[in-house]
Amino acid sequence: MAPINETPDAAVPALTAAPTATVARPQPGTRRRPVRPAALPEVLPLVTPEPQPTVEPSYTAKDYRSDKEPIWCPGCGDFGVLAAVTEVFAQRHMDPDNTVLVSGIGCSSRFPTFLKGFGFHSVHGRALPVATGVAMANPRLDVVVVGGDGDGLSIGGGHFTHACRRNPNMTYLMLDNEIYGLTKGQVSPTTTDLSLAKKALTTPFGTWEWPLDPVSLALAYQATFVARAYSARKQEMVDIIDRAIAHDGFSFVQVISPCASFYNSFRAKAPQVKALDESHDTRDRAAATALAGDHAAVWLGVFYQDTQPTLRERFHDLGELAQKGREHVLGEVFAKYM
């Protein structure tokens, strides 16, 4: 997503981004498709270009807040994420008129309410399909999806897979508190601590189900930007989310954001989290996968990034292919069936 005060095709130096190379994934035989050049198309397929409004450069983080006060519990990790997101919006001079926040249902999914911009608070687990429609129909919009671990990995888990492999241009922040917050505390697919699980409402005797790691999944699903941040480490979080929004394609950030009320893991997480080493090569998916599954630490930072054609470019191509030497007006379609 390009900041709106630049023309969309200009190259935007990401504020904190590590060098992002165009990495060709291995392509032997017919098993993988050829990689397309990374240039952006000049013409967008669907929406008539609208004049791009510019935002006051004086917008500060708090100007990106709506006038609604968050209804989260005191101490909820989501407050930190909200602060980081508004700061990223400010430093990227994002235009609220051009920003669409999409969410499902959950504490974290209340996010759009508290931001200035356009918000679509849909139903539980369906944020990604909705956001895909938004991003496809108007590729000039900056689309940010926010939701919980339950929303994204339990009821919505089937959509996460396909959003990653389609690579639409949007940023997905999964606010992972390892619990269902809004429904007052049940285990989620990421719940790791057996003793905490026992306090959850529907598993009084605990649960043994193997926890899922969202970063590992995004990597297996071939996402082109995969990162992990921690709600209690703000500047790092700002940097990571900034890079995610700057990424051209689907960017996924697992934000560890503990629930103060039903599964407060701030204390447990603090000693485990560590920033990824500078030397980690974000173009190396295998290394990223190994680090994601590493049990020695909960690594924070950008695990993986590469440049692949986005859904928008693919559909642009498809439109061009379709339009070559074929009917362009309705009458010609009719004529074909006579």
């Binding site: 709506s66 369906r126 909705v130 938004v134 108007n138 089937g158 379609v333 069936y337």
Partner: protein, 603 residues
């Protein structure tokens, strides 16, 4: 006047009876006749018995007719399974190479044996031309000009080379010559060419018509998931929409289909998905969301036999309950149902119009029979097609912008993201205030919002042009129908009126929800007894009509996976005919009549 039904049956994979049928239909159109076709597929993925039936008629045609008058059997299975369907006095043409007749049966039929297989193999040198030999036989026996068939073949295969055309032409001739040399026509059926009456028409099926209607309505976004018999709509749009600048995407399931459509619609794009019953069942939660956030979207449901996986290759009009009432809580929405291929085009345009004008999901109920049926249709005059658009905020409305303003007609203007309105707001499936923000503790507000949503629907009820009348102004029996039954009902009504004047009239609804109650009451006032005809088990429209009007209706239904024939309906109506004594209780002239499209039917 000529009017007869020809059915061709054979092995789907090898005999290709469908291709023979399609050429027959196309040639008939070029000869100024009207057609009405039906196809059936085997349950096997490949192979098995496939059939194609065409009613050939030198005047307008309303339905597929009753039973086949002429049956071509290309193999034993076709003979075994289909010969019983033939109308008394009918004609059986069979492949003597592969069909053994029941000894002594068929005294009432005219029989023509043709060694189709050997003619194709021996005289044409290509076994696969058996269906073309059949067409040649058809041409010679029933008077279809051979040149017209040849031209159809050339138009279809021409670009694939002169050789292919030549071999098929040869097969046509071989068939035709066989008749001239070896058969004597003894049956009464004769095709009557009227080339002077031929118009340039499209021959399309219901799904193609829906796709064209969507293009005509300027659809911009389509997301879908394959399902029989709805995939054809996606297939049509996948081929044509990108060329007109829109997008088609196959997504992971039906929930994602509707989700993506809602997202696209949120940006202002006209959006559509198409599915069949099982997919519609999965969409129920998001349908409720669509009503609540007031987003336009068109959902096509090509109904098949239910419940559950049911009869995927058969037809039924059984999804009305789900379409109209399938929601937790009350989520008013619109349901329309075309009755034929032409409707499929115009009603799709209408569905988009209602959807955008009223900011509401619209479900369009087609069905397997319409999807599988080719009909001829005049090229639409696009200048005469009116398109209605969403009420959009232009410029900057200022900070107090109310997305869900409680207007008198229930419709509020929409600010679209990315259009410079700066009218920041959110939409949510939670109860919300006029600004769009969640409000879950304000009873009067929730009620006001519920009333707002219903107000829009009440206005839809009065939209003109969504029904058709058939028959005289007053009658003893009044038939109300929806879905694919109209043609058979209309023919049945004609037959009854030919028996007794003013015996029956019919009202066919294409806007089925919200129910046009006034119109139904006005119609009921012109008849002695109201009969609802529909293609499902429980009489779903009948129940809705009874609930809203308290009319003591009778139900005529069918639920074996096939469509009604005119004869079946006529028989049942005769049984329900009241004594012709008392005049209708309320003089019909005192009741307001709405303009209808009766005259447009099958023109």
């Amino acid at each position: 006047m000529s009017d007869f039904v020809v059915k061709v049956g054979g092995e789907g994979g090898t005999d290709s009876p469908t291709t023979a049928g399609e050429f027959m239909a196309q040639a008939a159109i070029r000869e100024g006749n009207a057609i009405f076709t039906m196809r059936s597929f085997p349950a096997e993925i490949r192979g098995g018995l496939a059939t194609y039936s065409t009613r050939l008629c030198d005047h307008d045609v309303l339905s597929q007719g009753d039973r086949p008058d002429v049956l071509f059997c290309m193999n034993q299975e076709a003979y075994d399974k289909l010969v019983g369907e033939l109308a008394p006095g009918g004609v059986l043409v069979f492949d003597t190479d592969s069909v053994t007749l029941d000894a002594g049966a068929h005294a009432d039929l005219t029989l023509y044996g043709v060694p189709m297989q050997s003619l194709a193999q021996g005289h044409v040198g290509e076994k696969r031309t058996k269906n073309m030999v059949l067409l040649g036989v058809f041409s010679a026996l029933f008077g279809m000009p051979l040149d017209t068939l040849k031209q159809c073949v050339r138009d279809k295969y021409g670009k694939r080379g002169e050789e292919l055309v030549a071999v098929n032409h040869r097969a046509l001739e071989v068939g035709s010559e066989f008749v001239a040399e070896s058969l004597t026509k003894t049956d009464p059926f004769a095709f009557e060419p009227h080339p002077e009456a031929a118009r340039r028409q499209m021959i399309i099926d219901g799904s193609q018509a829906i796709g064209m209607g969507a293009l005509a309505a300027k659809v911009e976004f389509f997301a879908g998931y394959p399902i029989t018999p709805a995939t054809d709509v996606m297939q049509f749009l996948a081929e044509h929409l990108p060329q007109l600048g829109g997008q088609v995407i196959q997504v992971e399931d039906e929930i994602a289909s509707l989700g993506a459509c809602l997202g696209a619609s949120y940006t202002g794009a006209k959006s559509m998905t198409a599915t069949s019953g099982p997919g519609l069942s999965l969409m129920v939660e998001l349908l409720g969301l669509a009503t609540m956030v007031e987003l336009p979207v068109v959902i096509v449901d090509v109904q098949r036999g239910g419940p559950s996986t049911g009869l995927p290759t058969k037809t039924e009009n059984g999804d009305l309950n789900l379409a109209a009432l399938g929601a937790h809580g009350d989520a008013p929405r619109v349901v329309v149902a075309p009755a034929n291929v032409q409707d499929c085009f115009y009603d799709t345009v209408g569905a988009f119009n209602l959807s955008e004008a009223y900011q509401t999901p619209v479900i369009l109920l087609s069905d397997q029979s319409m999807a599988m049926r080719a009909q001829a249709m005049a090229v639409p005059d696009m200048d005469a097609v009116e398109l209605r658009e969403r009420r959009i905020v232009d410029g900057e409305p200022g900070p107090g912008y109310r997305r869900y303003e409680l207007t008198s007609d229930g419709v509020s203007a929409v600010a679209l993201p990315g259009t410079g309105t700066r009218a920041y707001h959110m939409i949510t499936g939670l109860n919300h205030d006029e600004l769009g923000y969640p409000s879950t503790n304000d009873g009067p507000l929730s009620m006001a919002m519920m009333n707002k949503r219903q107000r829009k629907l009440d206005a839809v009820r009065g939209e003109p042009g969504w029904s058709r009348l058939h028959g005289p102004d007053e009658a003893r029996i009044g038939v109300i129908s929806w879905g694919t039954c109209e043609g058979a009902v209309a023919e049945a009504v004609d037959r009854l009126n030919a028996e007794h004047p003013e015996a029956a009239r019919a009202l066919h609804l294409r806007l089925v929800w919200p129910l046009p109650v006034e119109e139904i009451m006005a119609f009921a006032a012109t008849v002695k007894r109201v009969v609802v005809v529909e293609l499902n088990f429980s009489g779903q429209l009948n129940q809705l009509i009874r609930a809203e009007t308290l009319l003591p209706t009778e139900l005529v239904r069918k639920f074996d996976g096939t469509v009604f024939t005119p004869g079946e309906i006529a028989d049942q109506l005769r049984d329900l005919m009241p004594e012709p004594v008392v005049p209708p209780a309320v003089p019909s002239s005192t009741l307001r009549r709405r303009p209808t499209l009766a005259s447009t039917l099958a023109k």
